[in-house]
Amino acid sequence: MSGHSTYQPQSAFMKWMERRLPIASLVHSSFVAYPTPRNLNYWWTFGGILSFMLAVQIVTGIVLAMHYTPHVDFAFKSVEHIMRNVNYGWLLRYLHANGGSMFFLAAYIHMFRGLYYGSYKEPREVLWILGVILLLLMIVTGFMGYVLPWGQMSFWAATVITNLFSAIPGVGEAVVGWLWGGYAVGNPTLNRFYSLHYLLPFVIVGVVVLHVWALHVVGQNNPTGIEPKSDKDTVAFTPYATAKDSFLIAVFCILLAWFVFYMPNYLAHPDNYIPANPAVTPTHIVPEWYYLPFYAILRAVPDKLLGVIALAASIAILAFVPWLDTSKVRSARYRPLYRQFFWVFALVCVGLGWLGAKPAEGGYVIAARILTTYYFAHFLIILPLLGRYEKTKPLPNSISESVLKGKGAAAAIAILAVALGILTGISTRASAAEAEHPPRQKWSFSGPFGYYDRAQLQRGFKIYREVCQSCHSLELLSFRNLAEPGGPGFSVAQAAAVAAEYMIKDIDDQGNATERAGRPADSFPKPFANDQAARAANNGAVPPDFSVIAKARTYERGFPWFVFDMFTQFQEQGPDYIVAVMKGYGEKPASMTMPEGMQYNSYFPGNAIAMPQPLQDGQVTYDDGAPATIDQYSKDIAAFLMWAAEPHMEARKRIGFQVMIFLIVLSGLLYFTKKKVWTDVHGHA
């Protein structure tokens, strides 16, 4: 198609360079003149999207590593420090966390595309196996990264996953010891995971280079699955594929930005905003959404060793697909039976993902067993047999002949993408299964243009000081935060005055413990000297810290609400729950036996709460004329706590809007550029 198939250095310098290090001609032959089948559809852009996402993850990761502290005492705090104090730290962390999810989403689409069009078949076996290795590396890297924030989910994911290795007969215990570097998951574990989480992405880059190299040796597959025969069947990588990839990358960025700016915690687990506690396992632990199908397979098998083997096999088996699939025809377009089985298989994977998020009990286990069996049967029975007995449709003579046909597959894969999206949503399930749903409140900070109501935050702060503060700490907040933009809107002098009302423990010049008046840079002092004192004073339960509690509490939304939430940006479960608990005290039902010293609360998980009803009508006097009712108090404290947990929310939504506008304009421009670039091709077809 394009005339310039070989690189001709123009300038004297490039000629000089060419004889010494022909990097320019390498780039030119790989990314400019490289012939790519002219009939590639948009599903072929995910390789480019993945490369882009890998770069995003590495750049944001390197930056986060500049601020993160891999130590059990500081990891959680340093992540919150990034979220609160580092310039744009919230953006970088949310990009990295959601970028990981989007990376997996793109990888799965990329793989399903390969399965659909038979991209693993001769001569692309090595290319495919490198892809499976990349998936494995991604899984390991993602898992280790998830451990780093050192929240409850981090800690227990680390515990559960490392324990998988104990199933290996003979050496299992030794391997687990190497992973832990101690008697249990602890500081040495966190340190080595951090080291490896920094290393592995570069290993991924190395394997990506091999993957691309292998691709350039064998050439790209295409929707027909037949090899390009003449120049008519291909176009130059640049500008044709470049334009197309750029357009889709921009569109993919819109999806990423949607999560990063508007629902940054939607794909995460609220429990991970609770600092790691080796003494308490969360009632319902589930991995991130992208591991759910594998997790379901693990739990489907009742035997420990066999479960681990099944888990490993479910990934390893992918490497054998080039030989398990015996059909000579590549593309599902010409394999009517395989096409149906492909979709069944895709649904099975989504189903496994759904089951992975469900508790491992009753019917769910049986369903997981059936689907697990099918998962393996697809590879071990269906693929080999289909190749033998399937009657395939006639293949077109050439790619250019087939160009006019075939939109069906694209639509079908779109359905798969939606299904994956639903699976994504499943991970938002929460633990409070047995309690009632808290009623939804109206919040000024909900939605894409949400903002905090300054007066409400100030009232909420008043409640915190007059009621909550005697038991609940607010460790991660400093007095200066009260005067920062996007917060309660106190002046710097007011914040300093508030600080001065607190006594802060300090050491004087002679080394004696003293107390001095607080300064704006001080954080809120803790009400109890330590957890033991807090427990002793509070019925045996430590009152939780309030800094991120609005993000650490939620309730189960259930199907289909969690899917709708993705589009409506509903993410105010935390404040809704707080309001509900504040107002949920009442008489216990006669049938319920209440433990000593506990109160009945209809919204608290388990309905027995150690805290006596904290708010009563008329308890706090408001200066701004807001009603002194428990209803108003609850909303105000919940709003205040939401701000405490997410102090940069206003900046996030504001920047998000700008980014969205930019990305939509860019996508539009790239779309028209792509169309213009491709007119030549369609014209000559």
Binding site: V63, L92, S478, L666
Partner: protein, 175 residues
Amino acid sequence: MATMSSAEPTRRDFLYIATGVVAATGALAATWPLISQMNPDASTIAAGAPIEVDLSPIAEGQVIKVFWRSKPIFIGHRNKKEIDAARAVDWHTLPDPQPDQKRVKEGHDQWLVLIGICTHLGCIPIAHQGEYDGFFCPCHGSQYDTSGRIRRGPAPLNLELPPYEFVTDNKIKIG
């Protein structure tokens, strides 16, 4: 692409240029958070607030170190001999000419408050050492006098003075 034949070359070029410009603007904007995050963060800035130091325990002839904004601040209680030595020299002839009077607060001649960082390459000089009995930097041998002025060695400038003021006769506020 401009060389390709096209019905409307100008419109097409405009599209490519506009796309390129918008994409480049976005890429440029995206680097801003990456650069901005390297600035001191909000907690570091907040921790750089002024500090107060009580001077009463500092004996004559003694130099103490306190930290402000992660920098060592030398507070010297000079005796008469040291003040006289600092004022006896013709300051116009010094490498970084400055009278001692300009380096202390009026009426508080005995108090010398300096940022204790060598102006050569940032080492911490040692008090009461060197030929001028002021400060001596062990790294490359810079000699400072009892006013903290550079007298000999590779350092180009006098020891810097932090912003400070006397709250009372016995208390200063640095910052």
